[in-house]
């Protein structure tokens, strides 16, 4: 649950970007950072391998100012997507308030998307959280690849694979270019804050 500091009147919200390896989670954060750090005055922390793959997590904290008298601090995290980093993903998920699942639209990644979503469900359950209850947004990333002739999964297929039971908001996006990156983030923050109503009373 979000951390609420009654003394300082502060709320800290943890949002984790989850998904298969090389799906675009870090790119989402990098886009937000480069686009908005002038406005939100933040620094991005990344822990990655020499090959630029997330090793531990990326971290982007920023304030969105006072809401109902509380200073709201948003903390965006990504997890490493590679299968071998499962225990790291579990660590980063600790205390999570909301998730953005970044799926890879490339056809060859179809199975990896599904496995990663199942992995998310499993890791959430270790903290007694349900994938059906936690604020969640799906992002179908790399939509721009279709224009380059690379086989991509259609929106319909992605929805059927990943959203048929969850029925959560979903966005087609291109993190590299920035399409719907901000919208995804705004949506998840909005959903999270709504679910924190009771804490802000």
């Amino acid at each position: 649950m979000a951390f609420v500091n009654l003394k300082k009147k502060e709320v800290q919200v943890k949002i984790v970007y989850y998904g298969p390896g090389r799906g675009g989670k870090t790119t989402n954060l990098e886009y937000i950072y480069h686009k908005f750090n002038e406005r939100i005055k933040t620094e991005m922390v990344t822990i990655k391998t020499h090959g630029d793959r997330t090793l531990f997590f990326d971290f982007l904290p920023f304030d969105i100012g006072k809401i109902k008298g509380y200073d709201v601090k948003i903390q965006l995290y990504t997890v490493p997507g590679q299968v071998k980093y499962d225990s790291t993903r579990r660590l980063v998920l600790r205390g999570v308030d909301a998730v953005v699942f970044v799926a890879d639209s490339m056809q060859v990644r179809r199975e990896k998307n599904i496995l990663s979503l199942q992995n998310l469900q499993k890791n959430l359950s270790t903290y007694k959280k349900s994938i059906f209850k936690i604020p969640l947004v799906l992002q179908y990333n790399k939509r721009d690849l279709a224009e380059q002739g690379i086989p991509t999964l259609s929106f319909k297929v992605l929805e059927k694979d990943l959203n048929s039971q969850l029925k959560v908001p979903s966005f087609e996006a291109s993190a590299l270019v920035g399409t719907n990156v901000t919208q995804t983030m705004k949506k998840i923050i909005s959903m999270t804050m709504r679910s924190l109503q009771r804490e802000l009373k």
């Binding site: 686009k35 750090n37 969105i64 109902k68 709201v72 909005s190 804050m193």
Partner: protein, 280 residues
């Protein structure tokens, strides 16, 4: 009611997000240098600029400058084969962790070395200071003055220099010893001041969360006390003899005892040096 409240917060959040993350108005600027935060160096502890409060002992001795001896003297005695080897191990261990077992070993090792070096007055004085510090830290642990460990390390390092430097003169040894005595005195003053401040603070304290530290206060006195032998100072004896004295007074008493011991030793040392010089 809940729905309305939900609506209000959601509206406020969405408006805020809109204000912060409006994309069309922003100019593209990816490369942005972040400001370097100011870094101020942590305060260094000044050990050298204070004038000695009680300089009687030193005034009577021939004038000498309190400075570090030249580093040109090379250590040619191997620590591995020196009597200091075990003490060094313990000192290094204390740097990482302070516990009863190591402090006891430290004190015991100092006692052993006192026997080894019983004919060397200068080294004996080093060891006395170390023993005193060891007992103080062992008794007070977390309540010890933070500088106690620093001074302990400094005294040990100087002792090591004195013992392991081949061909070091008595004068050089004395120089080094005087520096450490000065540090020790400064620590004593700091301990006294801390004891007084803590006593005053305790009177004013009204916090309801902390358990009373009565037991720790009673054992706060720990520096060496003079008993039958001027060299033997036992903190256990001190505790029983201090009885109902408030901690800061007991401290002051103990410190005075130490001063007297050091003065006596110094006097003897100067007398011997004088004899030696007269004989040259």
């Amino acid at each position: 009611m809940a729905d309305r409240k939900n609506g209000t917060v959601t509206v406020e959040v969405e408006q805020r997000l809109e204000d912060l993350f409006r994309e069309e108005e922003l100019a593209q600027d990816f490369a942005k240098d972040s400001e370097d935060p100011e870094n101020s160096a942590p305060e260094a502890i000044d050990l050298s600029s204070e004038l000695l409060e009680d300089s009687t002992a030193l005034e009577e001795s021939p004038p000498r400058e309190l400075e570090e001896p030249p580093d040109s003297l090379e250590r040619s005695i191997d620590l591995e084969h020196s009597p200091l080897k075990d003490l060094k191990t313990i000192v290094l261990s204390i740097d990482w962790e302070i516990n009863d077992e190591d402090m006891t070993r430290f004190i015991e090792q100092v006692e052993t070395l006192k026997v080894t070096y019983e004919y060397d007055k200068i080294i004996l004085l080093f060891l006395q200071i170390l023993g005193s510090l060891g007992k103080y830290v062992k008794t007070n642990k977390g309540n010890a003055h933070p500088n106690a460990i620093k001074v302990l390390n400094s005294v040990y390092t100087s002792l090591e220099k004195v013992i392991l430097t081949k061909g070091i003169s008595e004068q050089e040894k004395e120089k080094i010893l005087l520096i450490e005595i000065k540090r020790f005195r400064e620590l004593k003053q700091q301990v006294e001041a801390k004891g007084v401040a803590a006593a005053k603070k305790k009177e004013k304290k009204v916090s309801t969360y902390l358990k009373p530290k009565e037991k720790e206060e009673k054992t706060a006195v720990a520096l060496q006390k003079q008993t039958q032998s001027p060299d033997e100072i036992d903190s256990e004896t001190l505790k029983t003899e201090m009885g109902p004295m408030p901690p800061h007074e007991a401290f002051a008493y103990a410190l005075e005892e130490i001063k007297q011991v050091l003065r006596a030793e110094f006097k003897a040392l100067r007398a011997e040096l004088k004899l030696w010089r007269d004989g040259q």
